[in-house]
């Protein structure tokens, strides 16, 4: 029993680290643009397919496929932002959220139109699990874990040491003050959407690497993404990371107790509990 708990925690650590990638994307877009982008699931799906296309159709190595997943989803995100969501800025966050939901449906079905409903597997070698005593982990999991970590380290460096990263944080903190200091809000918003969408795309590919890419890959992810972001505090990037790790572990632990199908329902329960007890989440700003 103890070893199965430790195994679940290990799996949760890996899946939570992967979940952190799209959760950062979602929360970053919320922090700068002030609306929940419900297209995040479809953006993850686009990333999964872009990565699959590069890996299987073009025969690229996984590293380059990740880059295409990031770019594909990032470009889709910023195009949708400019064409559909941004014109509604004056109508308020709720209208933008509803619009992003419609965008998500359009994007998901464009993928379905192009690739059909069949699952698409990546071209990765089958390898024997690595074992430590009773614990086991697949080399693919280790690699995905490493990719997620590297990406988060890059993002952290970009946010802290580049001019644009500081401008993004300043805008999230106080848009008026940032403008006063000469930050161009439109540029910051565009770059945030590219990066946020791109992170969702890489997240989608990471998930698809474990199983396969299909048009609902991203949709299955969104409850966990929302839960991670709300638990960490909407708009907080460190919060999204911690939230994702906790959600990943709780999901894996509940698989021990409940039917595996309920895995995704855990996210919803966590959202309800957090909003009732501490709506600002673990690291959040006040949310009134």
């Amino acid at each position: 029993m103890l070893s199965s708990i430790v195994q679940a925690l290990l799996n949760g650590l890996v899946s939570g680290t992967i979940l952190a990638v799209p959760a950062i994307g979602f929360t970053a877009i919320f922090a700068v643009l002030r609306y929940p982008n419900f297209a995040i699931g479809s953006l993850a799906t686009i990333g999964a397919y872009a990565g699959w296309y590069a890996n299987v159709r073009l025969g690229w190595p996984l590293e380059a496929s990740f880059a295409l997943a990031f770019l594909g989803a990032g470009i889709a995100a910023v195009s949708a932002e400019w064409l559909a969501v941004r014109p509604l800025e004056k109508s308020g966050a709720l209208m933008m959220a509803i619009c992003s939901l419609a965008v998500g449906i359009v994007l998901e079905n464009m993928v379905r139109f192009g690739f059909g409903n069949d699952p698409r597997g990546f071209n990765v070698p089958l390898m024997r699990d690595i074992r430590f005593g009773d614990l086991r982990i697949s080399p693919q999991q280790v690699e995905n874990f490493a990719v997620a970590l590297v990406l988060m380290a890059l993002l952290w460096a970009a946010l802290n040491f580049t001019r644009m990263g500081r401008a993004m944080r300043a805008t999230a903190d106080n848009p008026d003050l940032a403008r006063l200091k000469g930050v161009e809000p439109a540029t910051v918003a565009a770059i945030t959407v590219v990066v946020g969408g791109g992170l969702a795309g890489v997240g989608g590919m990471l998930v698809a690497l474990d199983t396969a890419a299909d048009p609902l890959t991203g949709f299955r992810l969104i409850l966990s993404v929302f839960a991670a972001a709300v638990l960490g505090g909407l708009g907080s990037i460190p919060g999204a990371v911690v939230g994702a790790l906790l959600i990943g572990m709780v999901e894996e632990l509940t698989v021990l107790l409940l039917a595996p199908n309920y895995r995704t329902a855990i996210g919803f329960v966590v959202i309800l509990i957090v909003l009732t007890i501490r709506p600002s989440g673990l690291f959040g700003e006040k949310s009134g």
Binding site: I98, C99, L101, A102, V103, I105, P279
Partner: protein, 308 residues
């Protein structure tokens, strides 16, 4: 052909009920219910389970569905009504998914993915064409009744208070309106209307299963309400019929495109639905029948020289 047309009109009536529900929560009160389909499903299951398995009479089953919708609507709002409105959007979106998960997995309760077949019908199916016509009369009558009640409520002091909450919660609170209570009332009542629509639809099609309650249905209703006029119950009613017309049109359009697989045709339809909503929000967010400003009541005129 005529039967098909009647079938479509019955479905449109069900959507008209859903559109009234969304008008109450979103249009009048500003509460986005992205889990509308979840309440639709709950109503369908509540009435189907009690009438088919417990042998309740149908009116009782439908009444039970409305009560369950009311109660669950209240539960969903408890944690979010004090927060920013986008939290409610996230919670309701998740809620509909959880309803589908529970419906698929709790086989002892819901029949699992097989669903519940042979849900009793409101009037005997043996009536043939008359069955559909009778149902059309019942559903249309119900949609109009709900619409009239909602219009009345919308112009009542309660409806004005809801709109005040929608426009500015702080001002409404300063004016002494119980903001959280009003939101909870509006959302729960709207959930009950959606549950009623679900119950009727389940009895009409005689089949209730998780796969029916796709998130896309919620988008359809948003499309109907946006097309007809957000905040105008009559607009939402008309919008529902426009929606069904549009959906049939997309079916036709997707079929005439040559060399398209069935999967691609289905995807094309959904793309058209999504694009229609995006375009409407952009070009005509007030819809066909924009909400009218209610005039403040005129103080009674007093003849000169007399004191009021």
């Amino acid at each position: 052909m005529v039967n098909y047309l009647i079938f479509i009109l019955v479905v449109a009536g069900v959507y008209a009920l859903l559109a009234q529900s969304l008008t109450l929560s979103w249009g009048l009160t500003g509460l986005v219910n992205l889990g509308l389909v979840g309440f639709f499903a709950i109503g369908a299951y509540a009435s189907a389970m009690t009438t088919k398995w417990a042998g309740w009479p149908i009116p009782l089953g439908i009444a039970f569905a409305i009560l369950v919708g009311l109660g669950v609507g209240f539960l969903v709002t408890i944690s979010t009504l004090r927060l920013r409105d986008d939290y409610l959007a996230i919670v309701t979106l998740g809620f509909a998914e959880v309803v589908r998960l529970v419906a698929s997995n709790e086989i002892w309760l819901t029949g699992g993915t097989d669903g519940i077949a042979g849900v009793p019908s409101i009037v005997p199916r043996a009536w043939g064409p008359n069955y559909h016509i009778t149902m059309l009369v019942i559903v249309t009558g119900l949609a109009i009744t709900v619409h009239l009640v909602l219009s009345h409520l919308a112009s009542s002091p309660w409806g004005r208070a809801l709109r005040a909450v929608r426009e500015d919660q702080i001002v409404a609170a300063v004016a002494g309106k119980p903001v959280v209570l009003l939101k909870a009332q509006a959302f729960s009542l709207a959930a009950a209307i959606a549950a009623l629509a679900g119950a009727i639809y389940g009895h009409y099609t005689s089949y209730v299963a998780p796969e029916i309650y796709q998130p896309l249905i919620t988008i359809y209703v948003f499309l109907a309400v946006t097309a007809g006029g957000v905040g105008r119950p009559l607009g939402a009613l008309i919008g529902a019929y426009l929606l069904i017309g549009f959906l049939e049109l997309t079916r036709f359009m997707a079929e005439v495109v040559p060399g398209v697989t069935p999967v691609q045709a289905a995807a094309t339809r959904e793309i058209m639905v999504g694009l229609a909503l995006i375009l409407l929000l952009r070009l005509r967010p007030d819809g066909l029948l924009p909400e009218r400003n209610q005039k403040a009541p005129q103080p009674a005129a007093h003849p000169k020289g007399t004191t009021p």
